[in-house]
């Protein structure tokens, strides 16, 4: 059974093809990492999945999720999917959260909008969710405004909102990129635990190969708008097929192994061999 099937997805913005013929599938409960550098098209692919591409974007192909094609859904139907069947976490929680609203209210709103919960039901359920994202004083946190919390705490609030409606898929786009490394470790562990508890699938998008490989069963590698490689994480790490993946692995891994000051491999070293 397939939860998400992306078929020959292409996105053009202003005449530039930013996503080019991308095809992949996600099974229920599967954890998949989408990796690429700036301009690879990974974030545009993510935005297409939740129907949040800019208006001028031209989308072709299919995105079948839960038996519906997201590309052809109207905005109202997409809106019902987001936050309900698809939970989302983005890089910058400060922009994803409303700065003038207490964070507890923002989690509760998701429950009211998608689950028809009453205000008091939603407030009670919010406290449970805040506990699940490891806040020891959920009452106090619920009353805080976003600017009163640290980056890691804000990201945990978004995680609480993302799982509020028990989604089938959690889409996390660079969720820890703006965080300190010790905070990142904690947020990643939390995210792994939450998707496991929910039985949700995870699509984790990142430029950081070490982060995605530590979290995901399967990897998708994007380069210049194309999906150049996909496979089980261990296979991709041990036997990368595409020259770009080989280059990415060599550059990402080199820092930890390279002798101090020795010349680091760069991706063109690999692509030139291939071209």
């Amino acid at each position: 059974m397939t939860l998400l099937a992306v078929e020959d997805l292409s996105v053009e913005i202003g005449g530039a093809r930013v996503v080019d013929g991308v095809t992949f599938r996600l099974d229920p409960g599967e954890r998949v990492g989408l990796i690429g550098e700036s301009g690879s098209g990974k974030s545009m692919t993510a935005l297409a999945l939740i129907g949040l591409l800019p208006d001028e974007a031209q989308v072709r192909g299919r995105i079948d999720f839960d038996g519906r094609d997201i590309v052809r859904l109207g905005e109202a139907q997409r809106c019902r999917l987001r936050g309900d069947r698809i939970g989302m976490i983005f890089q910058e929680p400060m922009t994803a959260l409303n700065p003038t609203m207490r964070v507890g209210r923002q989690v509760a709103e998701v429950l009211q909008r998608h689950r028809g919960a009453s205000r008091s039901q939603a407030a009670a359920r919010t406290l449970e969710l805040l506990e699940r994202v490891e806040f020891h004083e959920p009452d106090r946190i619920a009353r805080a405004y976003p600017h009163e919390l640290s980056g890691g705490q804000r990201q945990r609030i978004l995680a609480a909102a993302a799982i509020a409606c028990s989604p089938a898929l959690v889409l996390a786009d660079e969720p820890t990129t703006a965080l300190d490394v010790t905070v990142q470790a904690r947020v990643l562990r939390l995210l792994a635990r939450l998707v496991a508890e929910e039985g949700a699938a995870l699509l984790l998008i990142s430029h950081d190969l070490a982060v995605v490989s530590g979290m995901c069963d399967r990897l998708l590698v994007m380069y210049r708008g194309r999906l150049v490689e996909q496979g089980a994480t261990a296979r991709v790490l041990e036997r990368p097929q595409h020259p770009y993946t080989r280059g990415l692995l060599a550059t990402a891994g080199a820092l930890d192994g390279a002798a101090r000051g020795s010349v680091l491999p760069t991706i063109p070293d690999f692509l030139e061999v291939a071209l």
Partner: protein, 273 residues
């Protein structure tokens, strides 16, 4: 701290306090930090947000003054000096910041930007030739001089920022998160370039970063800052192999590594964040 004869920059018992105003609380950015940068070494300063590492960079550059303690460059105190008394420091200590878009004026041609330190410091000579030489040193063609910052990629802009920093022939280069905003592949290019320049020009490097892997690769000695305090300092290989401080241990354990599952290493000194 014992002061070696080869200490180029000395930080002696430096604290920096930013006074609170209105609702803003007072911040102790640095708390009694003593450290020396030795001639010709590559010193890493590692820390997370709020560690005080960027404050330390600004103090070393004499862009700010310490609240207490003092900083010496080449044996002479820097703290409390007037701008015209800082010429020796300004020539010799240059910096590359994280975001070259923020430090390159978008309306200024690359050639003008790269030669700016020469004008500011009143260094005579054929500036056009010097710009071409600097651009070549960082792997850019001489034609780049007549173009604008937006015409370049992030990695190229960081090369331009390095060329500008090298213009007055400094002895010390301070790199403050200089490769943190770059893709891994571009980062490798810039690190290779930095290493070549350090070797060719005999530069002393102060490499400030949150990234433990980059610090290990670049630096022979490392200083770890945590909440404004220097918690550990020593040869990089020793600190990484046998960290004495609990925070250093948790920092090293938190670094994601290829092929290691998330959640495997338990952090030893996790703080509520």
């Amino acid at each position: 701290m014992s002061k070696g004869p080869d200490a180029l920059l000395e930080v002696r018992g430096v604290s920096k306090v930013y006074p609170g105003r209105g609702e803003r609380r007072q911040i102790q950015a640095l708390d009694d930090v003593s450290l020396e940068v030795r001639r010709g070494e590559t010193l890493g300063v590692v820390g997370e947000s709020g560690s005080g590492k960027s404050t330390l960079a600004r103090l070393l550059l004499a862009l700010e003054q310490p609240t207490s303690g003092e900083i010496l460059f080449d044996g002479a105190p820097v703290s409390g000096r007037r701008e015209r008394e800082l010429e020796h420091l300004r020539r010799n200590v240059q910096v590359v910041f994280q975001d070259p878009m923020g430090s390159l004026d978008p309306r200024m041609r690359i050639g003008t930007a790269v030669s700016e330190p020469l004008r500011a410091l009143g260094i005579a000579g054929d500036r056009k030739a010097r710009v071409a030489e600097l651009l070549e040193a960082v792997g850019l063609p001489p034609e780049a001089a007549s173009r604008y910052p937006h015409e370049f990629s992030g990695g190229q802009r960081q090369r331009i920022a390095i060329a500008r920093a090298l213009a007055p022939r400094p002895t010390v280069l301070i790199a403050d998160e200089a490769v943190s905003a770059l893709d891994v592949s571009v980062r490798a290019h810039v690190l290779n370039l930095l290493n070549r320049l350090i070797a060719d020009l005999g530069l002393t490097l102060v490499f400030i970063s949150h990234d433990m892997s980059v610090i290990r690769y670049m630096c022979t000695r490392v200083a770890v800052l945590y909440r404004g305090r220097l918690v550990e300092e020593g040869p990089t290989d020793d600190v990484y192999a046998d960290p004495h401080d609990a925070y250093t241990r948790s920092l090293l354990a938190a670094v994601p590594r290829l092929g290691r599952q998330v959640g495997e290493p338990e952090l030893t000194a996790e703080v509520e964040v």
